[in-house]
């Protein structure tokens, strides 16, 4: 009834090409942004912000990165965590070498390092596809994961064997390190994720996104359109790894804050991001958020939410149930709905558009 596009005529191509052509969608987006910027810091306690919201934002960004590669370009990667790690360690080495440089700038620049590494490991993608490419990216995962633990120079020879995040200020306020407040870290994450989502949305809706999807759907025809396969694939690896790298740096600097961070960029994280993309929806940016919200919040809901509702569930059982649930959902989505939660969301909106008259 209220979700209608009736009467909203698009008189220019620009209006028709907008990412949110329907007014109600734009209102919805504004409401979400209001909640994100004002509602959550106001209502949420520190636990909610550090254990739910910041992880959600970090995972969303990583999932967008992997979605660009896997969902839009059709190249599978099992090395997402490793590319995230490159970002984290690059940011750490840079802020050690240049303590005076703005940490946000360094987090973004660290993405360039993982973009370069991503391109390097993406080189075989011209020749190999599917399963074989997955194995090649798995090699990246194991090699880099090994380096993160075994090359002490990367973590400044710390006894903990991990990155120890130093305090860095932004406009005189600490944004990283032990004294940075959860709200500050949350705001920094939120701004980074919004800006980078906007860039990703621009890319996938234009010429570059079309050439990625063309490569995914029919590479011989893409070549015939004048698209160079190697360039398109390597660009996808570069952009994807850039996003992963920034997400990795955010993970260590704005979420973990050091200490417990040895060997976090492991294969399980890679798989988790892949599950987010599959459950959220391959080839959908909004799906990346759905997937991240789902996978990141499920363990917390299982551990704290269900007992709060009176369902007795021990920690270990909760973990097992989570595993089984995610596994089952992956199978369901892969078989029944490859476009994931994002597709269900679309169907829902379509129903709403025609409600209460189904035809």
């Amino acid at each position: 009834m209220f979700y209608r596009e009736a009467g909203q005529f698009k008189s220019t191509y620009q209006a028709d090409m907008a990412v949110f052509p329907i007014r109600q969608d734009r209102i919805g987006l504004a409401v979400i942004l209001l909640i994100a910027f004002i509602g959550i810091p106001l209502i949420g306690n520190d636990f909610f912000i550090t254990s739910v919201m910041i992880p959600f934002l970090v995972f969303s960004l990583a999932a967008i990165g992997l979605n660009i590669l896997t969902g839009y370009t059709g190249l599978i990667s099992l090395g997402t965590a490793a590319f995230m790690g490159v970002g984290a360690y690059a940011a750490y080495k840079m802020t050690t070498a240049f303590p005076g440089v703005n940490i946000i700038v360094l987090i973004l620049v660290s993405g360039l390092f993982s973009a370069a590494i991503g391109v390097l490991f993406g080189l075989p993608s011209l020749r190999i596809k599917g399963f074989y490419l997955a194995v090649a990216t798995l090699a990246a995962q194991f090699f880099l994961q090994w380096a993160f633990v075994r090359v002490p120079w990367l973590f400044n020879y710390n006894a903990s064997g991990a990155i120890e995040v130093p305090q860095r200020l932004l406009f005189g306020i600490p944004v990283t390190g032990a004294s940075a407040s959860p709200e500050t870290r949350y705001y920094v994450c939120l701004c980074l994720v919004i800006v980078m989502t906007w860039f990703a949305s621009n890319l996938v809706h234009g010429k570059i996104g079309r050439s990625w999807m063309a490569v995914r759907d029919m590479d011989i025809a893409a070549e015939l359109m004048g698209i160079k396969l190697l360039t398109a694939k390597l660009l996808a690896f570069a952009v994807s790894s850039f996003y992963a790298g920034v997400a990795g740096a955010m993970m260590i600097f704005l979420w973990y804050g050091g200490g417990e961070a040895a060997d976090v960029f492991n294969i399980r994280l890679s798989f988790n991001i892949l599950f987010m993309v599959i459950i959220g929806g391959l080839g959908s940016l909004i799906g990346s958020f759905f997937g991240a919200a789902f996978i990141a919040s499920l363990p917390t809901i299982m551990k704290f939410g269900l007992p709060a509702l009176g369902v007795p569930l021990s920690g270990a059982t909760a973990e097992h149930v989570t595993f089984m649930l995610v596994g089952a959902l992956i199978i369901v989505f892969l078989i029944v709905e490859p476009h994931g939660l994002a597709r269900l969301w679309q169907i829902g909106k379509q129903k709403l558009r025609t409600w209460p008259f189904p035809y």
Binding site: T12, Y13, M17, G206, K207, I208, R210, E223, L224, G226
Partner: protein, 271 residues
């Protein structure tokens, strides 16, 4: 080669126009299989050139050689006066060769609009920086090309499926979208591999009209593979006939139709 013959029967205007593409002594082998043996022919600017022949004659392979998917072991292909030895498909695209496929090769997950917009890729110059902003020059460019694409959509009468993913469209419409995608490249040479296969009579008539319009309105040179002899007679200026990878006839439709070797090939007379 048989210029004398064509002076009698061919169309004088097309006759004089220059050669756009020349195929000289091309041979192509797959292991032991000879797909094309020593074939030569040319395509003149502005003409509709049909390539016919029984199944497995090497017609599709010939198109694949022309746009660089296959590299012939022998012979040479000259396009716009430039000889190319190892041509990559994306180079052929940049040089002005577009094509459609025998078994529709659309981007299934993308909408009709996006499929045809992809045909504009080479003409869009704004790089990564502007694409990431999608404002200013990038938006101006996107709109400019959208306009061209909308004209093509109007021309092919596919307005109603503009936003639908092409994977779910009926076969006839998919073929039309594929033609649109090739037209969006504004090619000088358009290669059509059985554009009417699997269509009903009405769809065939529409497609015929589109091909003729493209040839006459935009002056696009067309090379066409087709089985329906009626269509070939109506559309084409000259016909080359292949059988078992060899050229057995070359000339105007009426000449080819009267050729004994062609009649034998189509009636399946044993050699």
């Amino acid at each position: 080669m048989n210029a004398e013959l064509m002076n009698v029967t061919g169309e004088p205007i097309r006759e004089k126009s220059e050669v756009l593409l020349a195929v000289q002594n091309v041979s192509l082998r797959f292991g032991g299989v000879k797909a094309i043996s020593d074939v030569s022919f040319d395509i003149r600017k502005g003409e509709v050139r049909a390539i016919i022949g029984p199944n497995g004659a090497g017609k599709t392979s010939m198109l694949n050689c022309i746009n660089g998917f296959y590299q012939p072991q022998e012979g040479q292909i000259t396009f716009k006066g430039q000889r190319r030895d190892r041509m990559k498909p994306h180079r052929a695209a940049a040089a002005g060769i577009a094509r459609t496929f025998q078994n529709v090769a659309l981007f299934k997950g993308m909408s009709t609009l996006d499929n045809i917009m992809t045909g504009r890729t080479l003409k869009m110059k704004r790089g990564f920086f502007w694409q990431a902003l999608r404002h200013g020059p990038a938006m101006t460019e996107e709109i400019e090309h959208r306009r061209v694409v909308e004209d093509i959509i109007d021309f092919l009468q596919i307005e109603h499926i503009r936003k639908l993913p092409v994977g779910k469209l009926p076969y006839g419409l998919q073929k039309r979208v594929e033609l649109g995608r090739a037209l969006a490249m504004e090619p000088e040479l358009l290669l059509l591999d059985e554009p009417m296969a699997g269509m009903n009579l009405e769809e065939k008539e529409d497609m015929c009209r589109f091909i003729l319009d493209v040839n006459q309105q935009f002056g696009t040179t067309i090379a066409l593979i087709e089985h329906d002899m009626g269509v070939v007679m109506d559309l084409s200026d000259r016909v080359v006939v292949l059988e078992y990878g060899r050229k057995i006839a070359d000339g105007t439709p009426s000449e080819v139709k009267a050729d004994q070797k062609v009649i034998d090939a189509y009636l399946g007379v044993a050699h």
